[in-house]
Symmetry: C2
């Protein structure tokens, strides 16, 4: 059994620690986690590896989760009058390079098409790393008057970012699937409302569908979107690796792109104005975060709302009780669940025995298994076995569908509460530098007073300093490779929800007066 | 008004003509049709042009049609136990070139990525023109035993074929959206059943959703999929251009790819066998065909089942009847239609007058307009104006939603019957070569006796000969450019539904004994 390796490391209770108590050597854990992650996603049939680095095959078991997220998201954005569209995969060099900060942010990762068949193209053509420069010239054509605003479009597509960091399925891939919303508005404030509404949908995807708590907030200047005015983000925490991860971002683009691409309109007074814009994206990374947060030693644990199958019925057949005897009864249970729109499958395959099926569906994370044996048939009942927590309940067949529906809701809620508890246990406030690294190592998420978004140098200082101290703690002074870099602390966000900041509080890095609290962590 | 140019040319009744009666000069009509097509797709807000040749922007008005097709198709394939998945955009040169006939078919159109950022890649990487070579190595990993068969996957994605023929939005584009189904089976016959089921779904997309009749049949050897065993197709007819168009294809791949990619399994006796495979694809071309078949002088005419809006409510406001007076009544009509799941919009914008709105929604092809003026309010009714055929009916508000639903069904049926009639009027049987070109020119679709699929040379002969005669008829002898090529006749398919073939019937080209009827036309 490959499942016996430790997947979820046990964690101490929440408390602030002083330097001497710190002793966790992160790099070793990371390797274990990443091996285990690979096992889980392959064995659960979510991912197959592919012969081009950074590209992976999304098998039906993961792709269906993406479809369920899409379905929910489409309903929500329709309520915001956002319409779906599709723009080209390719962008010319001229266009891509029009917004200077933007291209600087993406240029090193752009994949270029230079040939078709045997022939060189007249000019190289980029594959979209994101679609601002593809969409906005069209926005410029479509928008003439204030009557044409707001313009709200969304696109589901693949994008390519040819990164050289270690690729990880779902979390960091060279091609990934996402939605990108792009809107144009008549005022800064209208755009801002859109930015926050989109971000709130992302929060809901994580919290309501994936059962993962997130911290919504602003990115610092250093971490914001290339070419934008400001970036908002939802940040999640992954207990098993002790790392934070950016869940999704929603950008206020200000008028930067509007000016570059001439997205102008006549206002009510007939005067020419430049539109205010937003862009916001959610990727298949969501699935990876979900796997990491909820997975256990046996494999996947899927939140019911995004489980491709919420329930699997396994007939307990034997020599004395062949499938023919159980089939009609199992069939009637199947139907009663389908009538309640529960995603359910009857696994009546003869080539596998019940034990094999239990292990199979547990590994794939199906929230509820319904066992139906001869005794259940006799007693007109069935046994529910819950993947999250392992509860077993015998239920009568009459109320079965309702009981399953209620249990699925309960599991969804329980998984979220559990994840909230874990996250909260790993988030501490620290106000002095000497306590920073020890708490980062033990608790992983650290909230500190901060002197403000403009002071990028101090952000870099924390990064360097935290890396140095961490490596020293682990006895790895002087290391400079990727593993070493990954122990540095990064700002995750300036949470919208700010704790009190007493007058006179000092920034943890600069010692200057603090203007806000900022959240730090080691990040993917 | 740009709409006054002739869009649908009037057609003579069905009859076989002799050479002297032929007089249609196709190239000129094509230019007119293509200009008109561009106007319609831009003015109806389906397409915006883009600065890379062969790439277009699918605006919400066309993309929604694609989503409606997707939704229907997903439901159908689920019934066939086909699951959705997602495979990478990229394929290495080695893999792409593994099946020789296949790569020969696609190589000239392949787009190659050779750089990332400023750096050259170690080896060029192709963008998928289709995904056989991307998927099948994974099939080889997943398939071990007869228990793993059948394997049935589908993917919704973009593909790239860098063609140099004249690009046309929807119909011939360098990037397009499609679904590609890929399956593996234990026998030739199982694969064959899958091929035909997929093709029947394509027939239903055209006939039931898009209201376009198609002829299902086999492609000839010359026209079949590169690397496959045989190709089936649904062929549509476009009255306005007099051309046929391949609607979608479903391929029996035999064991060709299975052998190349080692897709082997142990059968029940423990012997190693090679899987039999299929692949089948439907593209955004569907939307272009729909526009061409149903469009009229005013713009789009959308079949209700794929119309993004099936119905638009236009309040007839005036000085004496401001919107406030009509709003509650219009709102209640809106709700009653929404309750019946009719896709409806209330166009209560104040900045446009009713006349502008009529023209706007007609151009966009909305099936039914509901006009609500002060007299309708008084009489508790509304006026339905039907886009297809122009009928106007006054209906009482009580049965309005039912009346609209019934009218939408009627329109869907009427559009299909109309298209069937048009197609049938342009399909004739011809048994002697001298009648071939005249009937091709007048009727466009010609069914002839044929000596069989293997005789590729005779197919080429008909192509050359028909081009020569057509150009001579049009006074364009010796022309060899693209326009001239496009007047040649091509085999469309060998229809499944074969007319009687009396003993002794001769092939129209070779004079050898005929083995079947084949359908010819000028094709996109």
């Amino acid at each position: 059994m490959p499942y016996l390796r430790t997947w979820r490391t046990s964690r101490p209770p929440r408390q602030t620690v002083s330097p001497s108590e710190s002793h966790v050597s992160r790099p070793c854990i990371s390797k274990l986690v990443s091996d285990r992650y690979s096992d889980v996603i392959v064995l659960s049939e979510m991912i197959s590896y592919y012969d081009i680095s950074g590209c992976y095959i999304l098998r039906p078991w993961s792709y269906k989760i993406w479809e369920l997220i899409q379905e929910w998201f489409n309903v929500q954005i329709r309520k915001l009058d956002v319409e779906n569209a599709y723009f080209p995969l390719f962008v010319s060099q001229d266009r891509l390079e029009k917004e200077k900060d933007h291209v600087e942010g993406f240029a090193p990762e752009v994949a270029w098409v230079t040939k078709s068949g045997e022939d060189d193209l007249a000019a190289p053509i980029a594959i979209r790393p994101t679609s601002e420069t593809i969409m906005y010239p069209a926005f410029s054509d479509w928008i003439r008057s204030h009557r044409d605003l707001p313009l709200k479009l969304n696109q589901w597509s693949n994008v390519v970012r040819w990164e050289f960091k270690d690729p990880t399925p779902f979390l960091r891939t060279r091609e990934f699937l996402w939605q990108e919303g792009h809107t144009a508005h008549a005022s800064f404030d209208d755009a801002n409302v859109m930015v926050r509404k989109a971000l709130d949908l992302y929060r809901r995807v994580y919290e309501e569908l994936l059962a993962i708590p997130v911290v919504p907030g602003y990115k610092t200047e250093k971490e914001k979107f290339a070419g934008g005015h400001s970036t908002t983000t939802v940040e999640a925490y992954i207990p098993v690796s002790g790392r934070a991860i950016q869940g999704a971002t929603s950008h206020h683009l200000g008028q930067n792109f509007g000016k570059m691409f001439d997205i102008n309109y006549q206002d009510e007074k007939g005067e020419t104005q430049t539109a205010w814009q937003t862009s916001w994206g959610l990727t298949t990374r969501t699935i990876g975060v979900m796997i990491m947060v909820h997975g256990d030693d046996t494999g996947l644990v899927l939140p019911p709302r995004v489980a491709p199958l919420q329930c699997v019925i396994v007939p307990i057949t034997s020599k004395s009780c062949p499938i023919e005897k159980l089939a009609p009864y199992c069939g009637s249970i199947l139907e009663s669940l389908q009538e309640k729109d529960i995603r359910v499958k009857l696994d009546d395959r003869l080539i596998y025995n019940p034990g094999w099926k239990y292990a199979h569906w547990e590994q794939k994370g199906v929230p509820i298994r319904i066992e139906v044996g001869p005794r259940d048939l006799e007693k007109r009942g069935a046994r529910l076995v819950v993947r999250f927590g392992g509860e077993k309940v015998d239920v009568g067949v009459d109320g079965l569908a309702d009981a399953v529906a209620a249990k699925l809701d309960e599991v969804q809620k329980g998984m979220f509460e559990n994840a909230v508890k874990f996250r909260n246990d790993h988030l501490v406030k620290v106000t002095e530098w000497k306590d920073f690294v020890p708490n980062l190592e033990l608790h992983n998420l650290v909230l500190t007073p901060w002197c403000g978004g403009e002071h990028q140098d101090w952000e870099e200082w924390v990064k360097d300093k935290s890396r140095e101290e961490s490596l020293a703690n682990a006895g790895l002074e002087g290391e400079a490779d990727t593993t070493a870099t990954s122990v540095a602390a990064k700002t995750l966000c300036i949470p919208f929800d700010q704790p009190d900041l007493p007058e006179g509080t000092k920034c943890i890095a600069s010692g200057m007066p603090a203007t806000c609290w900022v959240m730090w962590g080691r990040s993917y």
